[in-house]
Amino acid sequence: MNNNTKTLAGCAAILLLGIAAPFLFPNYTFQLAVLWMFILFALTWDTLGGQMGYNSLGNILFFGAGMYICVIVQIAWAGYDVAEYTAHFGAVKIEVTYAQYYGGLIIGLILAALGSVLCAVLFGRVVFGLRGPYFAIGTLGIALAAGELVGTWDYVGGGGGITVPFYPGDPDERALLYYFLCFPLAISTFVFLGWLYSTRFGLAINAIRDDEEKAEGMGIHTLRYKTIAWMSSAFFLGISGGIFGNMVGFVEPLEVAFPVVTFGIFMVVMVLLGGKGTLWGPVLGATVFHVIKEATWTYMLGWQWVALGALIIINIVVFQQGILGWAQEKWPERFGIKVEDDDSGRETG
C-alpha cells in the first residue's frame, strides 16, 4: 500500500513536470517534445524486442509510413493536388486557416495510425516466419527498402521530399502545440502498454519470448499474438511519425521519415540501456539516452557519434541487463522474486 502511494505520487510528479516543462524551459520545447517521442520509440520497440523476444530493426517503417500518410492527407485536405504540389518541390507555399490546419492534422494522424497498423499486418505475414537474427535482418531490409522505394516515388516528392503545410500561428505556439501532442501520446502509450502487459496477452507474448515452440505446443495462437503486438507498436509509431513530420516541417525519405541508422538504432539502444522486457526500463533508458545524446552534441561536437558509439559498446559488452535489469538482480525481493512460506503475499503481477 505504501509502495502504491509512492508509485502514484511518482506518476503525478512526472505528469505535472510534463505539463510544466515547456513553460519552465521555453527554449527547449522542441527537445522536450523529442524526449517524449523517444520514450514512445523505446516503449513500442520493447513490446516486440523485450516482451516478445523479437528484435525488430525495422520498426522505423511505421514511423515513416505514418509521417507520409499524415502529410499527404494534410496537403489534400488543404485543397491542393498532391502530385502537382510535390512536382514544384516546395515552390508552392500552402496557406491554411486554423480550422483547415487542425482538420487536416487530425484526419492525417488518424489515417497515419490506421495505415501503419495495416503495414504491420501485411509485413507481419512475411517476417513472422523468421526467427532470431533472421527476423532482425528481415525487418531491417523492409525498412531500408521502404526508404529507397519512397525516394523513387514522384507522387510523394521522391528523394526531394515534401514541405509540410505551414502552421498559421506563430512559431512558439506551434512548438507548444506539438509538445502537447507528443506528451499525451507518450503517456497514452505507456498506460496502454501497462494495461496490455497486465492481461493474458502480456503473459502470452512473454511465453513466446521464452520458448515459442513450447508456446505452440501448449496451443497458443502464436501468429495472432505476434501480429497484434506489432500492430500496437505500429499504431503509436504511425501517429508519432505524423507528429514528427510536422514538427520538422519537411519530410524526406532517408533522413527524416525512415532514419534506420539513427532513430531506428536509438530505439534499440534506449531499451537496452534502460532494461528490456520491463515497463519502466524503456522510459528510463530513453531519458538517460536523450540527455547523454544532447550533452555530447553540445559539448563534444565532432566527436558526438564516437561518444554515442562508445556508449552502445559499453552497454552491450558489460551492461547487457540495463538499468532496471541490474536493479532486479541486485534487489530481487523488491521485484517480488522471493521464496514464500505463507499466504500473506498474494501475486500482484
Partner: protein
C-alpha cells in the same frame, strides 16, 4: 472426464501404419497402436528405437511419410502443433521446456487452455479462480513456496514438476509424457508416480508415457508397447512384457 461411451476397441488415439523416415533412417516403421481412454499406456524401447519420434508425429511436429493418426476418430496427422494441442493432446519434453524468465505462477497462468479463446478473453486478466487453480496445482507438485521465483532458477527436477503442473493446467484429454522420471532424484520418484496416478484417476487424464525406468513403468502402466529399431516389437500387460523374451533381448542387445 472419462468417456465411458467410447467402446473398448476404439482408443482415444489410434495409430495405423505410421511410418516416418529421416533421410535413410527409418525411425518409425508401420506402427499400429492404440491409447485407450482413461488408462495409462506405456511406451518403452532401447535408445533410438523411435519413441520420441512417435510422440512428435502424434503432436504434429513433422508430417508422416505414411499412415494415419486419429484422435477420437478424427484424423489429426495433417494438423499443425497448436491445433492438435487445442484439441486436447499435450506433450511434455524429454529436455523439459518451461518459460524460463517468468515466475512459476505466470508459467501456470499462461498455460490455461486456448481452446475457446476470443479477443475478449485475450485481453482480459486472469480470474481469481484461475489463479487459485494455478496455485492449487503448484501445491500439488510441491512448488507452492517457490511460486514467485523465476522458473529458470529452479533445479532440473523442480522444472520437470513445473512442466507437469503446466500440462495439467492446460486440461488436456491425453498427456504424452516423455521420460517423466529421467534425472529426477530417486527419492522423489515415488512421489511423482503417485501424482501421475492421481492425475489419471482424479482428473481423468489419459496418460501415454515413455519411460526408461522399468520399475516405474511396470508399476504405472496398464498396457505397454515396446519399440525396437522403429518397429513395434511387443505389446501387453506389464507382466507379459516383463517376461517377453524378445523385449529382454532387445534391451540387453540395445544397451551393450
Amino acid at each position: 472426464m472419462v468417456t465411458s461411451s467410447s467402446s473398448a476397441t476404439n482408443g482415444l488415439i489410434e495409430c495405423q501404419g505410421v511410418t516416418k523416415t529421416f533421410g535413410g533412417v527409418v525411425a518409425n516403421d508401420d506402427i499400429a497402436l492404440s491409447v485407450p481412454p482413461g488408462r495409462i499406456t506405456g511406451l518403452i524401447g532401447p535408445n533410438g528405437s523411435g519413441k520420441t519420434t512417435l510422440f512428435n508425429s502424434i503432436v504434429g511436429y513433422h508430417p508422416l511419410d505414411s499412415g494415419s493418426i486419429q484422435f477420437k476418430r478424427k484424423e489429426i496427422s495433417k494438423l499443425r502443433v497448436p491445433q492438435i494441442a487445442r484439441l486436447g493432446i499435450l506433450r511434455t519434453f524429454q529436455q523439459t521446456r518451461i518459460y524460463s524468465k517468468m515466475n512459476c505462477v505466470k508459467n501456470m497462468l499462461v498455460s490455461v487452455p486456448h481452446r475457446c479463446e476470443t479477443y475478449r478473453t485475450m485481453f482480459s486478466e486472469h480470474s481469481p479462480e484461475v489463479t487459485e487453480r494455478a496455485e492449487e496445482l503448484l501445491e500439488f507438485v510441491g512448488l507452492y513456496q517457490k511460486r514467485l521465483l523465476i522458473s529458470g532458477d529452479l533445479s532440473f527436477g523442480q522444472q520437470k514438476l513445473l512442466e507437469f503442473a503446466m500440462a495439467l493446467m492446460n486440461e488436456p484429454e491425453v498427456l504424452l509424457l516423455d521420460e517423466p522420471t529421467t534425472r529426477i532424484n530417486p527419492t522423489l520418484i515415488n512421489g511423482l508416480i503417485h501424482r501421475l496416478r492421481r492425475a489419471n484417476e482424479q482428473m481423468g487424464i489419459t496418460l501415454f508415457v515413455i519411460e526408461h525406468n522399468m520399475r516405474v513403468i511396470m508399476n504405472l502402466a496398464d498396457h505397454i508397447y515396446c519399440l525396437a529399431n522403429g518397429k513395434l516389437l511387443a505389446e501387453g500387460t506389464p507382466d507379459m512384457i516383463q517376461n517377453d523374451k524378445r523385449v529382454i533381448d532387445a534391451y540387453l542387445g540395445g544397451q551393450v
